[in-house]
Structures are given as structure tokens and as C-alpha cells.
């Protein structure tokens, strides 16, 4: 509430400075007014998928990528999501310079496509995973889940652990999923 009011008041200050109030300069809002849902102070609720990633020292690269692609607010939302979360080591397996390249502004679309390939809208719990099951990801491409002797893989990537989130489920994986 406070930052929102501040922005509002600063806005009024600008009007007071003789800025024309009828121009079209006031363009669409680029950044969330008031900080965005991901900045809401709430240490009580079960963490959402973003907080799980933020709280994990093994996922700093993924978090940097989500922030770069402006996905933190969407993934803090109601969802529900199934997120396949590659570890830092998984990103390290990519050819040298790949991650740095993806984080550049000109790679925004490519980065989005990769991140969206890691997200499914809906909660697929471990017990619902069937061998050979496909999920149509947010980028519209399918991933294939396999389950052998209780061990789950996604497009061949190993699931290292599973974390339940307030707005979905996170499968921690050892390889970055690359769309075709």
C-alpha cells in the first residue's frame, strides 16, 4: 500500500510541475505498481513455487532467469503449476556462455521459450505420473514423463527431488529441458 501511494503522490507532483496532463506520454505500466505480488510480505503461508526456488541455494541461476524474463509475478500467482526446476549444476552442463547469452535482453524470447518449456499449468503429483505420459507445456511443446521402478524422469532428465508448493509442485531436475 505504501509504495503504491508514494508512486501516486510522486505522479501528482509531476502534474504539479506543469506537465501536460492530456498527452499520450503516460504509456502502459511497465513495472508492477506497488512492487508486485512476489514482493508481498508473507512469512506465514506455505511458500509458492517462486519462493521455493528463491530459498534454494541450488537454483540461483533459475531464479535469475525467471527474474530476467519477468516471470516471478506470474509464478507467484494462483497457478496451479507443475514446475521442472533445473539446478545450477544443470545450467552449468550447458555449453559455456549459453546462460550469459540467454540473460541478454536480445535473447528475451528464447529465454521465455525455454522457461515456459519447464512449466505446466496444473498439478501433476508424483503418484499421478504414468510411464510415457506427455504434458503440453506453457510454450505449447510436449515433455514426456517416464516412471521406472518409482524413479521419474522428464525428457530423460532425472528428478532429484520434489517440493510441494502452495500454488503447485516443483520437480528438481538435473538437466535443462531444451525445446525443439
Amino acid at each position: 500500500m505504501k509504495p503504491y501511494l508514494l508512486i501516486f503522490l510522486i505522479g501528482l507532483l509531476a502534474i504539479g510541475c506543469g506537465q501536460p496532463t492530456t498527452t499520450n506520454e503516460s504509456t502502459a505500466v511497465a513495472e508492477p505498481l506497488g512492487g508486485g505480488q512476489s514482493t508481498v510480505q508473507d512469512e506465514t503461508s506455505e511458500p509458492d513455487v517462486v519462493r521455493i526456488a528463491v530459498g534454494s541455494p541450488d537454483h540461483t541461476t533459475l531464479v535469475a532467469a525467471l527474474k530476467s524474463a519477468k516471470y516471478v509475478d506470474a509464478l507467484s500467482n494462483a497457478g496451479p503449476f507443475t514446475v521442472f526446476a533445473p539446478t545450477n549444476a544443470a545450467f552449468d552442463k550447458l555449453p559455456a556462455g549459453t546462460v550469459e547469452g540467454l540473460l541478454k535482453p536480445e535473447s528475451a524470447a528464447a529465454l521465455k521459450n525455454i522457461l515456459e518449456y519447464h512449466v505446466y499449468v496444473g498439478v501433476i503429483k508424483e503418484e499421478y505420473v504414468q510411464d510415457g505420459m506427455t504434458l503440453n507445456q506453457v510454450n505449447l511443446e510436449n515433455v514426456t514423463l517416464n516412471k521406472k521402478d518409482g524413479k521419474i524422469t522428464v525428457n530423460g532428465a532425472n528428478v532429484l527431488g520434489v517440493a510441494k508448493a502452495s500454488n503447485g509442485i516443483v520437480y528438481i531436475i538435473d538437466t535443462v529441458l531444451l525445446p525443439k
Binding site: F8, I15, G16, G34
Partner: protein, 662 residues
């Protein structure tokens, strides 16, 4: 209350802004770009009217909220499917029948969608229709009285979600079942879904002169879920389009099992053809039981009639009524553009939106360009029906509204944004964030052939970083965006009552001149009305005591009543004798268990039932602050023990005791 708060904030901001002007110039801060002239655009000065009415569904409160645009001020909470103690709706004897159903009195429902009546595809400002999602019903609300005038129950429906969308001249409104069910109350295993479960789409005829509704016919359709719909218009008039999901026909864990297929369907219905079959007597009359409740403005009373049959057309027997068009991933919104040529399917799990062409659909049907059939109904080839796809518009596309310049505005639930795109070129033109989880959105006139444009209003579910916390649940909200320029601009947030689903906005000039001011006393045909204080009376009929009472500033007649006994049931029939706009009188009696107050409009009669539960002298009073002497507007009713012979008498202004005035 909330309106007042908004009002105070706005006034405070005006004061602040003028102070700031006086402080002179300071360096431009980063925030200045984001809000710009927004406050000016949403500000309606005190004493000025809003430009649009916004008729907003209240979701699980079963009501409609009436707001002003662009101020976001709340004008009225209008009860439809839920009782409303504030006005006595569902509590007064006259309004109780409105909530009658085949299951008995149902005091609540879940109201999702609004349809404002249209003539030639354009708003005509006569009625608002609304759906009850839970116990399937549709309602008609008068835009003259802002009251619910009619409620019609829908038989053979498992939940009325794809409703109450209307045809371009309000010939029909539809009611499609959200859940398929075994028809005719069959006792069958749930696992026999594929074999036994069917859908139904009711076509409800609307009488053009008085708006009265009746189910003209019902289409029996394949068993899956029917979500939303829109009628064709212009060239596609005569057709209706429904989004369908769970074509997997799952009956458990739908969140996984109903998301298996890459494509579900848009169902195109040729309702003119169905009408022809009905006219030829090809419909099958089936037994059914459903309530039809009508409020009569002259008797100020509702009646509930139980209907016994419905005419059914099984689309499997008449395959040229219905066609399926594949549509990706559980389509939710199914919206037709103002020209009537383009149908937008919004797969809520898809990151693209197909736009279908009515011309191409017709060509595909003529050429039998089918990829197969589903339950014997032809499935048109996706590519043959497709105008084109909007690629990666955002995450979780739900609903689309249109402006008057060929643009579409689609809400994105998952990515919380509105995306503006061109209907013909399918190019994404602009996007703005919403805060958060937008469901429906509304452009004034957006679903009609003649959108009024100017604003798009977002209806949001989650407001965690926007509003002061109020415990575990925060308010839902709406946000207004100016769409008059190339770029959408957020100009105002305002909280909403209940949970807003769909809403429509209409120019105030099409509604406000017709707004009813008073009910004329000489037209009051209520059987217990007292048209003048001389007609006030108390009549005993067995153990019923009928009080025909009047109210006028600032007394009730009679205000002294004696001779009521324990075991009696008292009916206070209150006639408001005022013939002056906006002077309702309220009435309540102490300890009226299970009941509320009544709020009686000028010239109207309403009845409050009361069963005394203790001997004594019980006060009653006017509850609506009506004048400087409102506090004096009260009276007493004496309740004697059962079997006592206290004579029945009533009066106002009669002073009987010898000590009066001393």
C-alpha cells in the same frame, strides 16, 4: 461504505494535488511516468454523474453490483438468486416465491454472467439477464426498476454455466449445462459416464414486449462439459457457439484427466435449423419439473409455478443442427467479434488462441470438410475453420471483448494481463499487467455489434499487494484501463462486492432516463394494500392476523395494535404512501426469528411475517432514515397469552390514558 472510502481518497488526492502545485517544481521522479494523468481520467467530480453503468456479477454472493464508470463508485447491490436482508428480498412474503425451485426454497446461488438485452445486436437498455451456476436458473432484471422480475429454473442441467448469453434481438438466451448428467434422475454408476451422461442446452424464448421467458426447446448433446458461449450476429445470426471441455469424458480428477487431449471443441449450433425442427413438431416432449417465478409490478408480488414438461431435440438424431470445431486445450472463452465473422476460442491451458471464421465454417460444412465425428456429430477440420492463430498472446487466455476499431482485448489469468490484438491481422498490439489473476473483462458494448469502447475493465481475483489486509480473505477488485489511445492505461483500482465474474457496461444515457422513480399508488393492486391511512386495518382470520399498515413521513398507521395472542401469526402488510422519489420506508419488529426487515418503495406494499414468541408489548419501527422525525416513526404491538380475550383493536394518534400530556 467502500464507495465512501474511495470518495474520501479521491477528495484527499485532489486536495493533495493542489498543494503540490503550490510547492513548485522538483526533479521528475521515476514514478511520474507510470501514473501520469490517470487520476484525472477516473475522477468524476462530486455532483457529476458517471458516463457508464457497470452491471457486475457478484459470483458467490448471488447478487449483481451496479457501479459507475469511470469512477468505480458502487451504486447498488441488487439481489437476484440470494436473499438480501437489507431489502427483505427473499424474506418478504411477496419475494419468497422468487427463490422457489423444484427443490424448494433455495436462498443462495452463484451468479456468474450478465447479458444485457440487445436489439439488432446493439444494447437497448431494457433488461439484464443473469445465470445461477449452482441450482440451474436464469433471471431477468429490469433496468427500469433495478429489480429481479423473473427467475426460470432449468431442468436437465447439472449446473448452468454457459448462460445467459443472448441472440442479437434477444430472441433467445441460452442455458448450457456445465456438468453432464444422466438425464431423468437415473440411478447409475458414476463410471458409466460415457454411456449414460448427456449434456443439455436450453433455448429460452424471451417475449419481446415484456421480457417473459419460457424454455422453447432443449438440445440433448454429447456428455462432456459446456463452458461458455456467444451467439452469432450479423452474418452469423442464427448460430450459437459454445466452448466445450472434458471431451475426454473424465469423471474424476478432471484437473489431470480432462487435460489429456490436445484439442477439445467449440460447438457451433444452427439454432434457426433447430427452430424449424421444433416448428415441424419434431421435438420430443419429456416430463420435467422446474419452477417459473414471476414478479408482478402491480400486485407487488411474485408467483411461482411448477412447470411439468420440456421439449427436447436430440442432436444425434438431427445432425445438421450441430458441428464441432477442434479448439486447443480446454477452451473457456468463446467470443464473437462485433462483425459476427470471427469466433475467438481461448484455451485456458494454451499459449495461443485460434480465431475461427464463420465464412470458412460455412464453407467447410458445405464441402463436408470433416476430420471425423464425435458421437455421430461431424468434426470440422481445424484448418478449414481457422482464420488464424494469435501466437503466444500470454499465459492462460480466458475471455475476449472488442472495441469499435477492430481490436480485441483478451484476459490472461496465469500471466495476469490484458492483451490487445487486432482481430484481422492477429497481431498483438499492446499488453498491460492486471493485479492479479484477471478473470473476465468488459468493454462497454464489448459483446455487441456496436461497442462503445473507451475503457476496458478487468475483474481480478487476487489483491494481496493492493488493498489493506482484512484477514484470510482480501477483497476482489476491478481495474479500469483507458483504451482510447494506442496504449492501454491503468486509471483506477476499485474493490468489488462478492466475486466478479462477467460484467457488461452500458452508456448511462441508455438507462438512466427510464429509471423508475415511484410506484403509483393508484396502480397498486396488492390484495392487502392500504391506499391511504383510512384503509389501514387489522383483520383476524383464524390464527392469522393481517395488519394493513401505511407508512408516510413520519408515522405508521396503525402504530398501536392490541388483541394479538400467542399462537397467532402476524402479517404486517406495509404500504408506503409516499409518492416521492428515493423515500423508501423500512419496517422491522423485535425478535423476528428467521426473518429480516422489509424495505418498501414509494407506492409499494410488502409483507413481513412475524410469529410472536413471548407475551408482552413489542416495539416496531421504520428502519430507513426517512426524515428528521424518523426516530419517532415507531409503534407497539401487544401480545397477550393464548386464549386471552384482549379485544382486537388498532389506532394511531388516539390517546386513551387519563395522564396523557400531564
Amino acid at each position: 461504505m467502500k464507495t465512501k472510502i474511495i470518495y474520501r481518497i479521491l477528495s484527499a488526492l485532489v486536495v493533495l494535488s493542489s498543494l503540490v502545485v503550490w510547492q513548485g517544481c522538483k526533479p521528475k521522479a521515476p514514478g511520474s511516468v507510470t501514473m501520469g494523468d490517470a487520476a484525472n481520467k477516473a475522477f468524476v467530480p462530486p455532483g457529476k454523474y458517471d458516463e457508464f453503468y457497470n452491471i457486475v456479477s457478484g459470483g458467490f454472493n448471488g447478487q449483481i453490483g451496479v457501479y459507475g464508470i469511470p469512477s468505480g463508485r458502487l451504486f447498488k447491490i441488487l439481489p437476484v438468486f440470494s436473499v438480501f436482508p437489507e431489502s427483505g428480498y427473499g424474506y418478504s412474503e411477496e419475494t419468497k416465491p422468487m427463490l422457489n425451485t423444484s427443490h424448494g426454497f433455495v436462498p443462495w446461488d452463484d451468479l456468474h454472467h450478465i447479458a444485457l438485452s440487445t436489439t439488432k445486436g446493439e444494447h437497448d437498455g431494457r433488461w439484464a439477464f443473469a445465470n445461477a451456476n449452482n441450482t440451474p436458473r436464469v433471471a431477468r432484471v429490469s433496468m427500469k426498476t433495478f429489480r429481479t422480475e423473473e427467475i426460470l429454473e432449468i431442468p436437465n442441467s447439472g449446473g448452468n454455466h454457459s448462460s445467459p448469453f443472448i441472440t442479437e434481438n434477444t430472441e433467445y438466451l441460452v442455458a448450457g449445462t456445465r456438468f453432464s448428467i444422466p438425464m431423468g434422475n437415473k440411478d447409475v454408476p458414476i463410471s458409466s459416464y460415457k454411456e449414460n451422461f448427456k449434456g443439455s442446452i436450453s433455448f429460452i424464448k424471451v417475449n419481446p414486449s415484456d421480457g417473459k421467458m419460457n424454455i422453447a426447446f432443449q438440445l440433448r448433446t454429447p456428455g462432456f462439459n459446456y463452458d461458455l458461449s456467444r451467439a452469432g450476429k450479423g452474418p452469423s445470426h442464427g448460430w450459437f457457439f459454445f466452448s466445450c471441455y472434458n471431451t475426454e469424458q473424465a469423471y474424476t480428477l478432471l484437473e489431470v484427466n480432462a487435460s489429456q487431449k490436445d484439442k477439445d471443441f467449440i460447438m457451433a449450433v444452427n439454432w434457426k435449423k433447430a427452430e424449424e425442427y421444433i416448428a415441424q413438431g419434431k421435438g420430443r416432449i419429456e416430463k420435467a419439473k422446474y419452477a417459473h417465478n414471476v414478479y408482478d409490478e402491480s400486485t407487488h408480488s411474485a408467483t411461482s409455478t411448477m412447470q411439468q414438461e420440456v421439449t427436447v431435440l436430440d442432436v444425434m438424431e438431427f445432425p445438421d443442427i450441430v458441428y464441432f470445431i477442434p479448439c486447443p486445450k480446454s477452451p473457456h472463452g468463446c467470443d464473437v467479434d462485433p462483425s459476427g465473422e470471427y469466433i475467438v476460442g481461448s484455451g485456458k491451458l494454451a499459449a495461443m488462441m485460434p480465431v475461427f471464421s464463420f465464412t470458412k465454417i460455412q464453407k467447410a460444412i458445405a464441402n463436408k470438410d470433416y476430420e471425423g465425428d464425435f458421437s455421430g456429430i461431424p468434426v470440422i477440420k481445424y484448418e478449414s475453420a481457422l482464420h488464424g492463430e494469435v501466437k503466444k498472446p500470454g499465459l492462460g487466455p480466458l475471455h475476449t471483448e472488442f472495441d469499435d476499431k477492430g481490436n480485441a482485448y483478451t484476459s490472461m489469468f496465469v500471466s495476469s494481463e490484458i492483451v490487445k490484438w487486432n482481430v484481422k491481422t492477429l497481431e498483438v498490439l499492446d499488453r498491460v499487467p492486471t493485479y492479479y489473476s484477471i478473470g473476465h473483462l468488459s468493454v462497454p458494448g464489448g459483446p455487441t455489434a456496436k461497442p462503445h469502447g473507451k475503457y476496458v475493465i478487468a475483474y481480478n481475483k487476487i489483491t494481496k499487494d493492493r488493498y489493506l489486509p482484512t484477514g484470510p480473505e482480501l477483497t476482489q477488485s476491478a481495474q479500469i484501463y483507458d483504451i482510447s489511445g494506442d496504449k492501454m492505461q491503468l486509471i483506477l483500482d476499485f474493490p468489488t462486492t462478492g466475486e466478479p465474474h462477467y460484467a457488461e457496461a452500458i452508456p448511462a444515457s441508455m438507462v438512466s432516463p427510464n429509471s423508475l422513480k415511484i410506484y403509483k399508488l393508484e396502480e397498486n393492486k396488492h390484495p392487502y394494500a392500504a391506499i391511504g391511512e383510512g384503509q389501514a386495518k387489522v383483520v383476524r382470520k383464524g390464527n392469522e392476523v393481517h395488519v394493513s399498515m401505511t407508512a408516510i413521513r413520519s408515522h405508521l398507521t396503525p402504530d398501536n395494535i392490541e388483541g394479538v395472542r400467542m399462537g397467532d401469526v402476524v402479517y404486517f402488510h406495509l404500504t408506503n404512501l409516499e409518492q416521492d422519489w428515493d423515500v423508501p420506508h423500512g419496517f422491522a419488529v423485535k425478535g423476528n426469528a428467521g426473518n429480516a426487515e422489509i424495505l418498501v418503495m414509494p407506492g409499494e406494499t410488502q409483507t413481513l411475517k412475524w410469529t410472536p414468541d413471548e407475551v408482552g408489548v413489542i416495539p416496531f419501527y421504520c428502519t430507513d432514515f426517512c426524515s428528521a422525525l424518523h426516530q419517532e416513526m415507531s409503534g407497539y404491538i401487544r401480545v397477550s397469552p393464548a386464549g386471552s380475550n384482549t379485544p382486537l383493536k388498532f389506532s394511531t394518534g388516539v390517546i386513551e390514558d387519563s395522564n396523557a400530556g400531564k
